[in-house]
Structure formats: structure tokens, C-alpha cells
Subunit: 236 residues, 2 copies
Amino acid sequence: MTDIDTDNSPIPERKRGSGVKMVYDLLRDEILDLVLPPGSPIDEVQLAERLKMSRTPIREALVRLAGEGLIDTLPNRSTMVANIDFLNLNPFFDALVLMYRVTTRLAAQNHRPEDLPIIRGFHEDYAAAVQTRDALTMIATNAAFHAAIAESGRNPYFTSLFRRLLDEGRRILRLYYQSYDEQFPQRFVDEHAAMIAAIAARDVEAADRLGKAHAEQIVEQVQKLFARNNKLDIAL
Amino acid sequence: MTDIDTDNSPIPERKRGSGVKMVYDLLRDEILDLVLPPGSPIDEVQLAERLKMSRTPIREALVRLAGEGLIDTLPNRSTMVANIDFLNLNPFFDALVLMYRVTTRLAAQNHRPEDLPIIRGFHEDYAAAVQTRDALTMIATNAAFHAAIAESGRNPYFTSLFRRLLDEGRRILRLYYQSYDEQFPQRFVDEHAAMIAAIAARDVEAADRLGKAHAEQIVEQVQKLFARNNKLDIAL
DNA sequence: TGTATTTTATTTGTCGACAAGAAAAATACA
DNA sequence: TGTATTTTTCTTGTCGACAAATAAAATACA
């Protein structure tokens, strides 16, 4: 037995292409869960020594994140978590509502039987998170649920834009649930169930209508919250 | 005069942050103009010595291009120009038509006076390219024209998806014009003019209608072409 | 004391080198 | 001659180091 693997070193064993993905996933989650709030500085060197790797894979992960708009990079200067433009959320809401509609509609049109169990799975995960009042899981599984619907619609262009919007939505909702833990999520569970039914029945118009209503519901709630909050903490 | 710039060396002087952008722009143009056809291998080392720089900035440009779907990277193996899925262009057309509509509509709604000269500028560039029958310029300025309209609509989410679609469209149209140099571009010039008029008049419904018609016009033409061509060169 | 200029420090952008992975080539074996 | 195995080659992924660009600190000067 050739002892190439001298296990006196803790965990320096990392597979070759895995470093970038590890950093990317880590930072992405921390950004979307607001562990890294908007504006947080991101230090390459610090990350490198924390994760015990060179700056190169970290840099690559940062480039990817910048491409998705999750971080901003000032040339020759610091890089930081992208800010949320709270003062002008309308473009975001417009895009979100349209993508909700289009992806739900396309799901009713193009889904395959094997897609439904996956969608139902996320639906149940979301319902469970609502039961246990686990806000973070609730937000993440809600996004996963709608992303799965979008996938079943089989239009990669819409799916990728929608994913980006859902990501941004995770950050916004995170603020929402951290201020008020409202009781309305049960309503969302019911609406999700209705959407699944429409998709399974291939009822395109109903899916469109439900997607639109669901989206406008969310938008309205969030806008209401911000209207209340802005009276207090405009500071930031 | 301090002679820091000893000009015995040809062009080794490159500004610090410019390498990545240079490579990115170069490859992007070559990909979109089909100078690098779909499937072309991209060799980092070769590019590095051709452009007289290290692999690092080239790598970063490739990561960005991969993020936009213009190249595909097989782990630990080659990276190559992304293929075009000619067999299933429908998702592309669906997304394109919707984005044409939405961006033109939003332009009519949200544009500012200073946007119009920019849009008209690309319009004239396009008209000039049609006059001189310069296919490559025609394709590029057409994309720039619609991108400018999208910008004036001021929804960055729609704009970035539309840009990606227009890029992909450049590659597809490139094939079109290289096979047949049709005479229909003049029609597009007229439709462009009508769109500008609707935007300037802030006629949202007209803009929506024109955007949709224009998009469907293009889609129909391209589909017609491929129907003809597929009888001959299914090979690839 | 307040402003302008120089110096230091910190962080990024780029480089050359090396090793891991996978394909291609070469060899062994039937 | 055809298949399996080893060797070689080639490309990528990662590393540590250095230099440029900027910000912060320190100094000079009024």
C-alpha cells in the first residue's frame, strides 16, 4: 500500500475543479441569506486563507458572481456585495410579474410527467417550512419551487432570467421576514397548490392567471411592507 | 521630459485593467460574427501568446463569456464556442418576440428625450449599412438599435436578457445573410422608423404592436430560410 | 490650524511555473 | 490483426510572487 495519502494533514485534500464551485456556492448562499449584507466588502486574500486555497479560484468565483449581478467590482479597488435599489424596485417587480406569468404558462404547456414530482417535492418542502416557521428555508424553497416550474417550461432564456429575479427576491424577502413574521405564507401554500393543479391539467390560461395573481400578491405585500418601514428606517 | 516610455519595444504597453476587456471584446465579436464558428476550440495558451499576455486575464474573459452562454467549458478539457441549437429554436424565438414587445413598450413609456438621438443614430447606421449591403455591419447595428431602445426603457433585467438574445440572433442572422442576401432589409428600416415614431409619441400600445409585428416578421423570415436550407445541409 | 504634497500601506491585476486529468499515441499481448 | 494496457502529450486548474493603482497616513508648508 503506497502511502501517498499521509493523513497527518487535516483536510488539504480537495478535488481539482471543486474549489471554484465551493467558493461560488458559499458566497452565493451567504449573499442571498443576507449573512453578507449589501455593501459588505469582500476581501480576496482573507477568503483565500480562510478557505485554504489560492486567490485564483476565488477570483474566478467572484467574476461569476459579478456576472450575475450579485457583487460589484470597482476596478483596482474593493469588491463588495451588490446593493439593493430599494428606491426603485419597480423594474424588478415588473420583470418578476412577467416572468411568473410566462414560466407558469409555459410549464402548463411544455412540462413532462416526470417534472411534476420534483415540483411537488419543493411544494411540500415549502409547506413544511411554513409549518415550522423557518423563514430562511421558506424563502429558499419558495424560490426553488418556482425555479422548478420554470425548468419544466423548457425555455432556458426565461429560466435564467427568472432564476436571477428569484435570487434577488430572496434578498428582499429576507428583509421582509426578518422584520415581520406574518401569517400570510399559508395563503401562498394554497396558491402554489392551485398552480400545480393548473399545470398538471395543462390549463394554460389558468396557469397564466394564477401566476400573475400570485406574483401581484407578493409584490403588493412587499410594497406594503416597505411603505410602512420607510417611515422608520430610511437610514442605511 | 522624463523618458519613461522608451519606445524601442513595439506595443508592450498595456494599461492595467484593460487586458480582460480587450480579450473579452475580441472573442465576443469573433464569436458573434462567426469568425469563430460554433464548436471552434479555444486554446488559452495560443491566445495568450497571440495577444502577448498571461493566461490569467484570458481565463477571466473566458469565464465571463461562459457566463453569458457564448462558450462552453468542459471541465479539465477543452473549451469551445457554444453551439447553436438549430433543431429547437422555438424557445429562442418565444423569448425574442416577448422581449421585443416588452422593451419597445417600456421605451415608449419610460424613455427620456436624450435617448432618442442615440436610438436615431443607430437607426441611421443601420440604414447606411443596408444601402451599402454590408451584412456584418447591418446585423451589428440592428442589434445595437434594439439594445438602445431597451436601454431607454430602463429595466435592466429585460435589457440584459434582450442583449443576450440579440447576441444569439446575430449569430443566427449571420448564417442567414451569408446564404441569401435578400432585399427585405429595407422593410426593416421602415419598421424601425415607425417604432421610433411610436416611442417618441409615447404611444405605448402602438409600440407594443410594432415591436411584436417586427419580431414576428423576423422570426418568420428566419424560419422560412431554415425550412428551405434544412433540405440541403442538415449535415453539421 | 488648515491645506497641499509626499510617503506608506493595502489591494488588485498580471505573470510564470507546476501538477492533475484526460485524450492520444505507443506498446504489449492474444 | 485486434484488443487491452501503459506511456506520452497536451490542456486545464491552482499556486505563490510581484508590480501597478489607489487609498490612507504622514509630513511640509502657509
